[in-house]
Symmetry: C2
Subunit: 340 residues, 2 copies
């Protein structure tokens, strides 16, 4: 099969890889209907994370089950399925508490690589959610978005305790931040402030439910949020970048007693304890337990209540993955869908 | 009147200070029945915080109202009252949300200094809680504890989302940590692990409801908590110290999806963002909004359901405050009550 492999920073190649097979009796193998490039794939692409040798890429996936292992009970060949970037057993204490991304048997899908034609999915029963029937083609991008960016933005909103009557600010206008806007709208937020200075992203943020757009960032962005909230700060802030600056902006934009949901993968961040102490914010985040939300998200998409697939503004054949990485790296595309 | 003043690190003197008077029409003046030395008073006493010149000390207080300003409506002369270390108006949006320690009109009582015979209490209606009648003498220490250490430990437990069925670990065996144990017990925790290596504090922790005592600290302490919780970590961890080591110990002792309530005043703490991200813990803390809990705490004390006054293991006349500071600095006393 074909699959994308990162050989060095900036060097993604689509090349022949061995077809996956069932290894554990709890595995499934799926044929991908669509996959995509994640903002977090840009960390190794840009050399911020250093891979040890050639690394298969990708951790987002939807597709049709080809084969299942002997112990798989609920997933069957022929089903159209969605899973998240952590495979999880669904039965351990942490899964049952809703933290499937910390499952005691978790497997990081990024180590398997799903920017490919086929993929092995460990712990299939725990990991995969099947649609009621094969989806119409126009729903596939939204279902693919649920695999990571929607689920991650949704977790950001839940971690930020978004709810009715609240003012929510979203730091980061990538696909996750935009999905955070969508989640905030669905979760009933009263006011949703997207922080973005890119016109196409502002437009999508408004389409997803943003009531306001703030173009300032850093201290100016914080001042603007304070000005819009009677000097207090937002009730809920979703952080979807992962840098020192974005974390500081998120924490400082939140009122005392408010909540920061941080889902941008932290890189080089050091949080000053004194500031955090006196800020009195709640802080929660990390690798999103997307699986917790998948049944609900798939249902919302199936009923066409949400359309997160709009984050894909560039579709390319898998063979052109390298161009997809370039387009996202240069911020020419919000998110790139790859057709295997 | 007499009051304690810190002249330099290690140099606390009880000296004549001007009698307080009503300055704002929302003020009250109280005659203190008891006051005390706080663990946080040791930061400037040890020179970790540098005061600018002589500083009046103390922020914990119970006493009898002597006089109120023209705009005070609910507090009357003759009442026995308790307040917290932040004076708060009780009416602003943050007070109404339960974050009185971030009240938009807050006044830090430590700048006024309550290790004294009399004290001015700003925003009396918002700040003070009156007992049903003058308390019997044996309840005074517990009511004084409610002014800070009990309220702070209680907030730590609430911030750590303590509740029925949960395993709670408490980092720090000072008065706040011990009151955190008491709070965890009251809030229904199933298992309460006090981390302490001091026999008298272990004993008080057990009296307050600790089911287990762990003497290991740092990485060994974390390993012990993991071992006691099926490898996962505690559901809730109360951090009541405020150092880099104690914060790391608290975060690492908490399971993914669990909660850290941190109430030790952070000093020189830097939290690594990556570790916090992947830990998936909830983090909340800061200066406790003690006022939120005071009515309930006073009621529990009044009905003799809790006895937090046991944290005071040394009582001295106010005139001997310097010895009180020394005893706490040298860990000869858990907490020192001063009689004015």
């Amino acid at each position: 099969m074909l699959g994308a492999v990162l050989h060095a920073p900036g060097d993604v190649r689509v090349e022949e890889r061995a077809d996956p097979a069932i290894i554990e009796p709890t595995d499934a193998v799926i044929r991908l209907s669509a996959t995509c490039v994640c903002g977090s794939d840009l960390w190794p692409y840009r050399g911020v994370e250093k891979p040890d040798g050639p690394a298969p890429m990708g951790h987002e996936y939807v597709g049709v089950v080809e084969e299942v292992g002997a112990d798989v009970r609920t997933i069957r060949p022929g089903q159209f399925v969605i899973g998240s970037f952590w495979a999880s057993d669904g039965t351990c204490e942490l899964c049952r508490a809703g933290y499937q991304s910390s499952c005691v048997h978790r497997v990081l899908m990024g180590t398997i690589g799903t920017q490919s034609q086929l993929a092995r999915i460990p712990l299939a029963d725990g990991t995969l959610v099947a649609t009621p029937e094969p989806p119409p083609a126009d729903l596939v991008p939204s279902l693919l978005a649920a695999s990571d960016v929607l689920g991650t933005g949704w977790f950001g909103a839940v971690a930020a305790d978004v709810g009715p009557g609240k003012t929510v600010a979203v730091v980061g206008d990538g696909a996750v931040g935009l999905c955070g806007v969508l989640a905030a709208r669905q979760l009933g937020a009263e006011r949703i402030i997207a922080m973005s200075r890119h016109a196409p992203r502002q437009e999508l943020a408004r389409a997803f439910g943003a009531t306001d757009v703030v173009t300032e960032r850093g201290a100016d962005g914080v001042a603007k949020i304070k000005e819009m909230t009677g000097g207090l700060g937002a009730h809920s802030v979703i952080e979807a970048v992962g840098t020192q600056e974005s974390m500081a902006q998120a924490i400082r934009s939140t009122r005392p007693g408010g909540h920061v949901g941080f889902v941008g993968v932290a890189h080089g961040v050091e949080l000053p304890g004194e500031e955090l102490f006196f800020s009195q914010v709640h802080l929660h985040g990390g690798p999103a337990p997307v699986r917790r939300f998948l049944p609900e998200l798939v249902d919302l998409i199936w009923r066409r209540e949400i359309d997160p697939g709009r984050v894909f503004d560039l579709t390319l054949p898998l063979a052109e993955a390298a161009e997809g990485y370039r387009a996202m790296d240069e911020r020419r595309a919000i998110k790139v869908l790859l057709t295997p």
